[in-house]
């Protein structure tokens, strides 16, 4: 598998994502600077990492979504490349229009960092096929703006199309329909607030993030 992790000014989970992908899949991961106007060739996976791109100033993910590299990510996503946005990455994907909806301030108005239980709502996606029969997973979460919002008709569309991939067992932030992660309608772009990149081996308290990366490998091996 060939993967890239984007680096924006203020990204702070870029290395975490690289290590997580490399540890779980053995893939080679390239770091791609936000000013790049092209992506490495033949990528199988693009990870948009968490952190505070541009300090989260103005609106989380807004400035990063306008960077040169994101124009390339949009093209790659439209061409079917897998794109995974975690936390700030999810916010960036929404801001760039690759995913519907937006992430609002947490309903408690505070940053919340805690381990969180998720149900896997759609185990047929290319990001979840390796979860087998596992019903719920644990990952940690840390954000101030993880409260997913979409207009009622958009939300209905997401639900009806099976685009909800992860749901919170206990809603930590007011997210609509307890949504923790969604895919686009084509199924190749996943955005999620919890961090699989902080839950990929037992020493970190949970290895439940690892099957997410294994799933992507599986898709490739099948192809």
């Amino acid at each position: 598998m060939k993967a890239a992790v984007l680096v924006f000014p203020g990204s702070n989970c870029d290395r975490d994502c690289k290590v997580a992908v490399e540890t779980t899949t053995g893939a080679q991961v390239e770091m791609v600077w936000h000013e790049e106007t092209s992506l490495p060739s033949n990528l199988d996976l693009i990870v948009v990492p968490g952190g505070f791109s541009y300090g989260d100033y103005l609106r989380c993910g807004a400035m990063a979504s306008l960077s040169p590299v994101m124009a390339e990510v949009v093209k790659a996503a439209n061409a079917g490349v897998s794109v995974l946005g975690i936390c700030n990455g999810f916010q960036i994907l929404c801001e760039s229009g690759l995913l519907p909806g937006a992430l609002l301030r947490n309903s408690g108005l505070k940053y919340v960092c805690k381990p969180i239980e998720l149900t896997i709502e759609n185990r047929k996606t290319r990001f979840t096929s390796a979860y087998g029969e596992q019903k719920t997973v644990w990952m940690t979460q840390g954000n101030g703006d993880g409260n997913f919002f979409a207009e009622p008709d958009v939300l209905k569309g997401i639900e009806d199309n099976g685009q909800v991939v992860f749901r919170y067992v206990e809603n930590p932030n007011g997210s609509a329909n307890n949504i923790a992660g969604i895919v686009n309608s084509a199924g190749n772009v996943l955005g999620m607030m919890p961090h699989p990149d902080r839950a990929f081996e037992p020493a970190l308290g949970s290895a439940d993030g690892a099957p997410l990366f294994h799933s992507l490998m599986r898709v490739l091996q099948a192809a």
Binding site: R59, A62, E95, N106, S107, L109, F149, A150, E151, G174
Partner: protein, 83 residues
Amino acid sequence: MKATVHIFLKAGVLDVQGKAVEGALNGLGPVQGWGGVSNVRVGKVLEFDLTATDKAAAEAEVKAMCDKLLANTVIESYRIEVA
């Protein structure tokens, strides 16, 4: 020219900050001696200077800035003043 942009959450989006401020103001009211408040909305305001010198052109520029960056029209609406 000088631009002022007001950005608020759209009507259908719950303004949690506004609700919290409303709760706090009403909670303090009896102690501090002010009356009740309602419909609190919290938004952002940006002020900046533009190089554009023509009002219509400036407005068009600021509108583009809002659509592109300053506001997220999925959740926010904005109001522009140029002077």
